[in-house]
């Protein structure tokens, strides 16, 4: 019995298993409750719609693993959608339009990283500021009306061509997630980024340039937000002010649900993507059940809280597993570092 329990605990302790179980349970539940939920075309449709969420979640997860936070991802995604569509509408060729969009994201990522690292400012305040700047620039760019209608078929085809039964946007998203996962797990720089997120002091002792690694993470996050924006603009062929507002909340929730620890250093890209999958599936399921979609923001808020509380519980549980003979430790000892100074 004890073996079974510790076996089950180990199984649950494997990264990604809890979120996978949660997603499976939710998907089966919806499939039973609403038969139309499991329809292949409708699944494809809603996943294609939510492509930007997956892409910014991947980037944000990398930043959180590197020990930071990026609240600007949603606004940067919206702005990049605007700049790339603007470029395409003004006759630039598709490649340039894509580069303009991704470039917008990279610039914001670079600014975020540089300001946070070089001036040692609090990461969420800086990215809250750039969130406002990006959202405001989109208002300026769209001039209070929406940008509509490029005739560049190649640009539009970027998101909606059919590749093996899936849309190109979905294929590109999967490629992004796989590539980022491999970079994080298989390459030296990925391992260094994770190490630097685990805690600055040990990483510094190991001779890592923590600041530079963090800037890389913000660059990737910004660039991916830009890329997500390009795909969104190509799919909708219209961009208006306020687009992608509040996406940062969904991305944070997705990453946290996927077991990416806000303390940094722990979690992975595909687990975060699974968190995003769970969230958008909840959204779709509730929509099919006729629940007002406006409730989604409440669900997202609850998911963030649940994710963080579970993460904390899991960390404590892991500590008790590691010490089979519990010593009488003072009550305060298991407290993780406070959020002070973040």
């Amino acid at each position: 019995m004890k073996n079974f329990r510790s076996g089950a605990a180990r199984f649950l302790g494997i990264e990604g298993v809890p979120i996978l179980l949660a997603f499976t349970a939710v998907a089966i539940g919806f499939a039973l409750a609403v038969p139309s939920f499991a329809d292949g075309d409708s699944v494809k449709y809603y996943l294609n719609e939510e492509v930007p969420i997956f892409i910014i979640t991947a980037g944000l997860a990398l930043v959180i693993i590197a020990g930071g936070i990026d609240l600007s991802v949603g606004a940067v995604l919206g702005l990049s959608a605007g700049t790339s569509l603007w470029a395409s509408m003004h006759g630039f060729n598709p490649l340039v339009s894509v580069l303009v969009g991704v470039g917008t994201g990279l610039v914001f990522g670079l600014i975020n990283g540089l300001v946070i690292v070089k001036f040692r400012l609090s990461d969420f305040i800086v990215t809250l500021g750039t969130l406002n700047v990006a959202a405001g620039l989109l208002v300026v760019l769209t001039d209070h009306v929406q940008l509509v209608g490029t005739r560049d078929e190649t640009f539009l085809g970027l998101a909606s061509s059919s590749v093996g039964g899936l849309t190109s946007a979905m294929v590109l998203t999967v490629l992004v997630i796989v590539a980022l996962h491999l970079v994080l797990v298989k390459t030296g720089i990925g391992r260094r980024i994770r190490a630097s997120g685990m805690g600055s002091a040990p990483a510094l002792v190991a001779g890592l340039d923590v600041g530079r690694l963090k800037i890389y993470a913000y660059l990737v996050s910004g660039g991916l937000a830009g890329f997500g924006g390009v795909l969104l603009a190509a799919r909708l062929n219209s961009v208006q002010a306020g687009m992608a507002g509040g996406y940062e909340l969904i991305a944070v929730a997705a990453a946290v649900l996927g077991g990416v620890s806000l303390a940094g250093g722990r979690g992975g890209i595909w687990q975060a993507a699974l968190g995003a999958l769970l969230l958008v599936t909840l959204k779709q399921g509730f929509r099919l059940m006729g629940v007002d979609p406006l409730i989604f923001s409440i669900i997202t808020g609850v998911c963030i809280l649940v994710g963080v509380i579970v993460d904390r519980g899991a960390r404590r549980f892991a500590l008790t597993l590691r010490t089979p003979q519990p010593v009488q430790a003072p009550a305060g000892e298991l407290q993780p570092a406070t959020s002070k100074g973040r």
Binding site: S122, F124, G129, L294, G301, T338
Partner: protein
């Protein structure tokens, strides 16, 4: 906290100047205030409409909402926390007031309901952060989504209208009580003085500074750190509710997204006023100076004919610059302080 004792017999001019220098260095809002005076002077000469009584009253009236939020945010920042939910809580409280009035309840009941919602959410924030150990900005970010989402879901995205009564026009500041004086002005003054006295003149208030500057030290000194932090979030929630009561009267409708972005203004105002994100620092008067700075910036943007769409961009930049200046300022103050003693 050093207070200049009145018994000191006529300090020399040199002593006075250096005491002043120390105070200014300790308190960045002095520097900001000086900057504001200069900016206003320039504006008065270049823009004839700026220094008119009408425009100045406009500015004061426009800074009220952020002032309430910034006072609450300052209390939370002093206690070492951060509250991202203030904009959403303000919007939700405004919605509660409006719908209570629409359902025929008296003004007092509607206000109590709104204040209850604000204090309740503040309490939940505080409990999540202290008892469950969730990082401040994540707990309040989730609450931002929850409170905002609840208002959106509840109103189905449709603005609440038709709740204005005669008395409410006064509370919103749309009608003056005497000369240019409006109810919100008196309310900000009253709330500001009350919180200021609480923070600077009571033992209870000193605990907020203690908890913010060193939670461990405060705990060792026998302060119940969790309770102080929870109290700070409750105060912030109450301030957001007051701001909600006020803004519902000022705008005469409550669109569900009315609070969007206010958390940024509130943080920026508090930080401009000298509150530190690392806790233990901040003053009510600073928060008001910060709110004035933000409102003046917007007013100047409008008057100089810059398109209003740039406002959000400027607010974002002001936030980052304020944090940057705050950090630089304390660095300078520290190095001068070190070389002096």
């Amino acid at each position: 906290m050093i207070t200049l004792t009145p018994e000191r017999v006529s300090p020399t001019t040199n002593e006075r100047v250096s005491a002043l220098r120390v105070r200014i260095l300790r308190d960045p809002s002095f520097g900001i205030l000086a900057l504001l005076v200069v900016v206003c002077g320039v504006m008065a000469f270049t823009e004839p409409t700026f220094a008119t009584a009408g425009n100045l009253t406009n500015i004061i009236n426009a800074m009220m909402t952020v002032s309430f939020l910034a006072i609450g945010m300052t209390v939370v920042l002093i206690a070492g926390g951060l509250d991202l939910s203030v904009g959403s809580v303000m919007a939700l409280s405004a919605g509660v007031v409006a719908s209570c009035l629409n359902n025929g309840m008296p003004l007092a009941v509607a206000f109590v309901a709104a204040l209850g919602v604000g204090a309740g959410i503040g309490l939940v924030n505080g409990l999540l952060i202290t008892k469950l150990g969730i990082p401040d900005f994540i707990a309040t970010l989730a609450m931002l989504g929850l409170a905002g989402g609840f208002l959106l879901y509840w109103t189905a995205g449709v603005p609440i209208l038709g709740y204005m009564t005669d008395a409410y026009y006064y509370i919103g500041g749309l009608r003056q009580i005497a000369g240019p004086v409006t109810v919100p002005m008196l309310l900000v003054l009253a709330v500001g003085v009350a919180v200021s006295i609480l923070l600077r003149r009571t033992t209870y208030g000193v605990k907020f500074y203690a908890v913010g500057s060193s939670p461990t030290g405060a705990k060792n000194a026998g302060i119940r750190v969790d309770r102080i932090k929870i109290a700070a979030y409750v105060i912030s929630g109450l301030m957001a509710a007051i701001a909600g009561i006020h803004i519902a009267g000022r705008t005469t409708t409550v669109p569900p997204l009315i609070g969007n972005g206010y958390e940024i203004s509130a943080i920026a105002a508090a930080v401009i006023g000298g509150a530190s994100l690392f806790g233990g620092k901040g003053r009510v008067i600073g928060a008001l100076v910060g709110a004035l700075t933000l409102t003046l910036t917007r007013n100047i943007i409008n008057l100089t004919g810059v398109e209003s769409s740039w406002q959000a961009v400027v607010t974002g930049l002001v936030l980052i610059l304020a944090v940057l200046a705050n950090q630089a300022w304390s660095g300078i103050a520290r190095s001068i302080g070190a070389s002096r003693s």
